[in-house]
Amino acid sequence: MNLIAHPELLELLAASHALGTLRGGARRRFEALAREQAPVRAAALVWQGRLASMTELQPSVVPDPAVWTRIRNMIDAEQAKIAIERQRDAANARDDDRSRQPRQGGWLRSLALWRGATAAGALATVLAVTVGLNLRDQLHNAPAVQYVAVLNDDKDAASMLVTFDPKKKQLVLQRVGGFKESDDKSLQLWALPPGGAPRSLGVLDNAPGLRLAASESDVHAVPTLAVTLEAKGGVPPGSGPKGPVVFKGALIEKTI
């Protein structure tokens, strides 16, 4: 049928198509006509636009504030990943100009590590938010908790819980796995700011719980924490990590 000669029918078909109730063979025939004939295509697009406004007309419901926190955490993780990839690409470009000597701190540029860290980070975002929520009651009597991280080992097993108390200005670390460093080694905690070099947050002794002095600026806008295995006493001040990463995880700001 020549639909263009029947404008009312054309409009009704276009409206049913946009509504989604035009199905099966009728839908396929209408779409074929729309591809061939511009006026049919125009009617289809007009009705798609008109009915799309249905999405604007629903009554408002205020979402829980945690939704925005989740969105921001995921975007921060995504931004960190992009920054790290850019940094790695730049480093690779520099390396192409030089002889290929093995360099210390090469783990920072390990693609596999960062891909893994990102995937683990996304998972840890979910886990840490959940853990953060479950911990709410337990931590009720604690003075304050502003940031939470669950650091996982390379088998994704939770190995360390890190919280930041803004009132006491300290990081509280709790070992939750069975990891035990040998007597000639120390664990060292690092903040991995997006696009920047790792910053040491302190060296751990082998106690199950530990408090490290820290200010909010040390942990603000830091999406990821990592723990490396270093020589006894940690790396010299100002130096980057030298040993392997043993635990890592996303640092989440807690807003409830």
């Binding site: 008109r50 007309l57 975007i75």
Partner: protein, 197 residues
């Protein structure tokens, strides 16, 4: 024109479009502003499609991550900003419903009960037209001319992408009734929207 509201109240579209442009340039503060401005509206839409607060919040989260990633493409869509955001939310919400339906095939009974709507003949038209585009406002006027149950059936067909048969089953109505309401509803919309064209 039955009303000249659109001539006297400045459209909020320009402000929302400016925010979306900034988001396209990776401006996180703009995303926060857009979220503050639109999240209740979009949450309401998500609730209407998925009917469960927890799911609707997941949908809202995924939708804003999508906005963050695709905001640069907004201009080429030629849509009013809130309608563009609404389409993203609807699409994520339908994705979630499909996933949940597949996940819980054995729990369809519970799912149907959750999704079941009660249609009331005098259901008010609950639209909140704050921030709505001119086009949405025209649609609102035209939907208001439909009888409550007809309007509800047409709205659910669109928002949940449901066929005549699915609507009849979920709303516990005869198939013929659903078809008739939708046909008459669309006919009234056709005449009414033509006046706004």
């Amino acid at each position: 024109m039955p009303d000249n509201r659109w001539m006297t109240v400045p459209s909020p579209d320009a402000e929302l479009m400016a925010l979306i442009d900034r988001i396209g340039h990776r401006d996180e503060a703009a995303l926060r502003l857009l979220y503050d401005r639109t999240s209740p509206k979009l949450m309401g839409l998500a609730m209407r499609v998925v009917r469960q607060r927890e799911w609707a919040e997941d949908v809202l989260q995924e939708a804003f991550l999508t906005v963050w990633r695709v905001a640069g493409d907004y201009r080429s869509s030629l849509s009013p900003p809130l309608a563009w955001l609404g389409l993203i939310v609807r699409s994520r919400a339908l994705d979630l419903l499909r996933r949940r339906t597949a996940d819980r095939a054995q729990l369809t009974q519970e799912f149907d009960e959750l999704m079941a709507d009660t249609l009331e003949s005098d259901a008010p038209n609950p639209a909140d037209t704050a921030d709505a585009s001119e086009q949405a406002w025209a649609l609102h006027q035209c939907l208001s001319q439909l009888e409550g149950r007809q309007r509800e059936v047409v709205s659910l067909a669109y928002l949940r992408e449901m066929s005549h048969g699915e609507l009849a089953e979920q709303l516990k109505l005869p198939l013929g009734t659903v078809k008739t309401w939708i046909r008459r509803g669309l006919e009234k919309l056709r005449v009414c929207m033509g006046r706004f064209a």
